[in-house]
């Protein structure tokens, strides 16, 4: 028992490696901000394209969404980081993660947005257009707010997944939280830094997960 605590919950080691982990956590937060922002924007654009009256645009968007949803994100990341340099395109670890995540996240967010946009009755856009709103104004002021409200739990769940997936960045040596924790483990020969990293992830995500399930209960009660 003493060994177990010593190996996994060594407070001295945790305190000692905390600054390193916090640095990693800061990178994780930056990474999240960028990939969530880009993923939301890309996902919305793809969803709008996937519902476009233009057949060409619609099929391209649906093809893109299907392809990147089917491709494992780790495969994509390794390809972008280690595969593309053979074609002369060398990206920093951060940029490689951003590119891979933009492709992967956009596809997932697009599916959520698409369901949301389809859940808004057609009469809403029609009424807006009939009062002279442009297509963009109609989307921004009338359709999108209702769409987002209708799929908010899915948007949040997807965002939780994205945050968790940022730990994949450790594979390309980006010094985010997991990478920093693993470094700390190899230096201290102790697993406590990994436990600490897990606790930091939990502290970040647990409130979100709680919120989602409360929201879903709320919807079910309606």
């Amino acid at each position: 028992m003493q060994d177990f605590i010593e190996l996994f919950f060594n407070l001295d080691i945790m305190a000692q490696t905390l600054p390193l982990l916090l640095k990693g956590f800061w990178v994780t937060l930056q990474l999240c901000a960028v990939v969530i922002g880009l993923g939301l924007a890309g996902g919305l654009a793809l969803a709008v394209a996937a519902l476009s009256p233009s057949r060409w645009l619609r099929w391209s968007a649906i093809g893109f969404i299907d392809f990147f949803r089917a491709l494992p994100p780790l495969v994509l990341l390794v390809f972008v980081f280690s595969g593309l340099p053979f074609a002369g395109l060398e990206l920093s670890p951060f940029m490689a993660v951003v590119v891979a995540f933009l492709l992967n996240n956009s596809a997932y967010y697009a599916e959520v947005f698409r369901a949301g946009l389809r859940s808004v009755p057609g009469g809403q856009a029609e009424a807006a257009r009939a009062t002279g709103l442009s297509p963009t104004q109609t989307l921004a002021s009338v359709v999108l707010p209702q769409a987002v409200r209708n799929v908010l739990p899915d948007l949040l769940s997807n965002t939780v997944e994205v945050v968790k997936l940022t730990s994949l960045a450790s594979v390309v040596s980006l010094s985010e939280l997991l990478y920093a924790a693993n470094m700390a483990r190899s230096v201290t020969y102790n697993s406590s830094p990994l436990v600490l990293a897990a606790l930091i992830y939990l502290a970040l995500l647990w409130p979100l997960v709680r919120l989602i399930s409360r929201y879903q209960r709320g919807l079910a009660a309606h």
Binding site: P121, G123, Q124, E126, A127, A128, R129, A130, T131, G132, L133, S134, Q137, S141, V142, P145, Q146, R149
Partner: protein, 250 residues
């Protein structure tokens, strides 16, 4: 003296694929007139209204609002034109995520580019006009169907339209709520609004319409004063339609 037409439909034809839905429709609605459109379901009434603001693209023919030829406007310039043609739908289509006041302000701000305070004043005036001043801060879901439809009318009126199109504005309402909407429409008519109304409220047509049009199969089959259309129908189709309506079958 004959007033000039505010809305003119000339040789309008509409097809969906191979189906011809409107055939050579010709109609003038003059300033301050209320023209009433009746006809069985599927006869093309909604499609005709929707062509008037190009929610539906006419296959051929012309639509004119005052001097502007709606059918010649480039698609990207349609938005300005649409404000001149107010439209009220059977299903109200209020924006559920905005207060009643915001519903009436939105297009004024976004499409007409009115300053916010001006838009709000105008919105409150229009809500008063439809008898709903005290509901400005309510959400649409808190209103009865009749109240929602009156807000939808206020939303269209706030843009100073030249003509108002009504597509079965009372068909989705419980019978006891129909009267409040019809009253607003009568007030509008008295104030001189030009209106084209698709509806099954025959009593309202007798009382308020200047002219009545009977459509069937995408054609205008009869056209005349309410007395002529209801009192002296000429065609078998109109006679059959009127008797079905009086038995409550339409």
């Amino acid at each position: 003296m004959v007033k000039p037409p505010v809305l003119e439909i000339a040789g309008l034809e509409k097809r969906f694929g191979d189906t011809v839905v409107l055939k050579n429709i010709n109609l003038k609605v003059r300033e301050g007139e209320l023209v009433f459109v009746i006809g069985p379901s599927g006869s093309g009434k909604s499609t005709m209204l929707r062509c008037c603001n190009r929610l539906e693209e006419p296959t051929s023919g012309a639509i004119l609002v005052e001097d502007a030829k709606i059918t010649d406007i480039a698609r990207r310039d349609l938005d300005k034109m649409r404000m001149k043609v107010g439209m009220v739908f059977q299903g109200f289509h209020l924006y559920p995520h905005m207060s009643v006041l915001r519903n009436v302000m939105l297009a004024q701000i976004k499409a007409l580019k009115r300053p916010k305070d001006e838009a709000e004043t105008r919105a409150r005036d229009m809500l008063e006009r439809v008898g709903l001043s005290e509901k400005a801060d309510a959400m649409p879901s808190d209103l009865s169907g009749g109240q929602q439809q009156r807000v939808a009318i206020a939303r269209a009126l706030a843009l100073d339209p030249k003509v108002m199109l009504f597509d079965e504005p009372t068909s989705a309402l419980d019978p006891e709520l129909v009267g409040s909407v019809l009253k607003v429409m009568k007030d509008l008519r008295r104030e001189g609004m030009t209106m084209l109304v698709v509806s099954h409220e025959m009593a309202f047509a007798r009382e308020a319409a200047d002219r009545v049009i009977f459509m069937d199969g995408g054609l205008v089959v009869e056209h005349g004063s309410p007395e002529q259309i209801f009192g002296d129908p000429q065609t078998d189709r109109l006679k059959a339609f009127l008797s079905r309506v009086s038995q409550g079958a339409e």
